[in-house]
């Protein structure tokens, strides 16, 4: 029975991530300048990981990142690796924070967004651009803007997922 539920979790997760990615690329692109758009998928991955552990977090991170690579990125593996590593760290952080309080996950999402963007920056500089852009400028104007958006988005998204988890919505996957 457990396996049946676990099998159901992944297709549902993949479907939701595809929908969110499409929403981001099509709808949100009208309201945000390019590069300053929030990465809803990253927020979802990190919030879900806070409710489970680093192992499952890495798996959902790699799935979400790979879908982003396929749908948008000309390079495969960049977002998969960045989201996997960010989710791994989120899993480690989840042991140290109070899951029933919003402040810990919110601050963690802020910091992990900067980490995620820095990893993508490095990979894109190495394998796509062939040169390194101005890191300090990117940090100041792009990473921090995005991290701030994510901080705000975590406030409604995390409690929603937390309540769902409390009502055993993700059972038995998250146990």
């Amino acid at each position: 029975m457990e396996n049946k539920f676990q099998l159901f979790f992944y297709p549902a997760f993949i479907f939701i991530i595809i929908l969110v990615l499409v929403f981001q690329g099509s709808f949100l692109s009208y309201f945000f300048a390019q590069g300053r758009m929030p990465d809803l998928v990253l927020v979802i991955v990190l919030c879900l990981t806070f409710l489970t552990d680093e192992k499952k977090g890495m798996l959902i991170g790699i799935i979400a990142g790979f879908l982003q690579d396929i749908i948008f990125g000309p390079l495969l593996g960049v977002f998969s690796l960045a989201k996997m590593l960010a989710a791994f760290l989120a899993g480690l952080i989840s042991r140290e924070i109070y899951k029933d309080q919003i402040i810990g996950p919110t601050l963690a999402v802020f910091l992990l967004t900067i980490f995620h963007e820095a990893v993508v920056f490095l990979l894109v500089s190495l394998f796509w651009r062939g040169s390194c852009s101005n890191f300090y400028y990117s940090l100041k104007n792009l990473f921090l803007t995005r991290a701030f958006y994510h901080l705000i988005l975590t406030v409604p998204i995390y409690p929603l997922l937390y309540r769902a988890e409390q009502k055993n919505f993700f059972l038995p996957y998250f146990k």
């Binding site: 709808f27 692109s29 009208y30 390019q34 749908i71 000309p74 040169s131």
Partner: protein, 284 residues
């Protein structure tokens, strides 16, 4: 049999995953290849949803923009109507000049320029990250689109197709760091290369024309067009206008800062160029 302990095993798995994903990035970055079936399935499957979200976003954006800038839109509408009348007049003159040009070319024995056909396409999505300058359009190989076809708007050059699925394609825009275009200064016919400005994200969207000789006749306000060399972009498409002229980092050549004529942030409709004029060859 040697059995690894739990933390060590986990570390090995993480390292394997990192190496695998890094290799995948290097491979796809170097060979610029995409795998077919899964991508095709995802792109085709998500196209109607992308179209729906894109239209919804556009309508909401236009609605609020109209409300906020009602007076400006009214003035713009009036100006556009006047401009349309001027353009119609110009169009008639252009038709006459085209006919005359055609007659003269035949008299001089030049090969005829192949007229290119344009296929309109809607932009249904764009890469939400800041790292890749790509857009998704709703025309694919079912409509005859092929890799490396040029994509333009009425304002000028946008980029070229780099991935084609059945009903949609992805376009790599001029503002991407991987894109370089052979260009000409329209007034003086000075050749150069157009690429983005690396290392200065604050100049995002601006282009740099490099490889200009020290004596090149170029000045702010000049129009830059595609030269047609390289075989991807047709000759004569407007790329942008020169904003600044200066020396390159070694002081040997000139370079120019070019403001693109296309607003890459607000692309809604584009055209795919099907055939482009062959380079003008004089027949002996």
């Amino acid at each position: 049999m040697c059995r690894l302990k739990q933390p060590a095993r986990r570390l090995v798995i993480i390292l394997i995953l990192i190496i695998f994903l890094l290799s995948l990035s290097i491979f796809t970055g170097k060979f610029y290849c995409r795998y077919g079936f899964v991508e095709d399935l995802l792109m085709t499957g998500t196209l109607p949803v992308q179209g729906f979200f894109s239209q919804a976003g556009e309508r909401i954006y236009v609605f609020f923009e109209g409300m906020l800038e009602y007076n400006r839109v009214l003035e713009e509408n009036k100006w556009l109507k006047e401009q349309l009348a001027v353009e119609q007049n110009l169009n008639i003159q252009l038709m006459e000049l085209r006919k005359e040009n055609h007659r003269l070319r035949e008299m001089l024995g030049f090969k005829r320029q192949t007229a290119y056909t344009l296929l309109p396409a809607e932009v249904v999505a764009r890469d939400p990250s800041q790292w890749f300058e790509t857009i998704t359009i709703n025309k694919g190989h079912a409509d005859g689109v092929q890799k490396d076809m040029a994509v333009v708007t009425s304002e000028g050059l946008v980029g070229s197709v780099f991935f084609v699925s059945k009903n949609s394609s992805r376009v790599l825009m001029l503002t991407d760091s991987r894109r370089a275009v052979s260009a000409l200064v329209q007034r003086s016919r000075e050749p150069g290369f157009i690429g983005i400005i690396e290392g200065y994200p604050e100049k995002k969207g601006s282009l740099r024309m490099s490889n200009l000789s020290p004596e090149a006749n170029i000045q702010p306000g000049d129009t830059v067009i595609s030269s047609g060399l390289g075989g991807v972009f047709p000759k004569g498409l407007v790329i942008g206008h020169v904003v600044e002229v200066g020396q390159d980092q070694y002081g040997l050549l000139q370079q120019a800062l070019v403001r693109s004529s296309v607003n890459f942030n607000r692309l809604e409709e584009v055209f795919i160029v099907f055939e482009f004029p062959a380079a003008e060859v004089e027949t002996e």
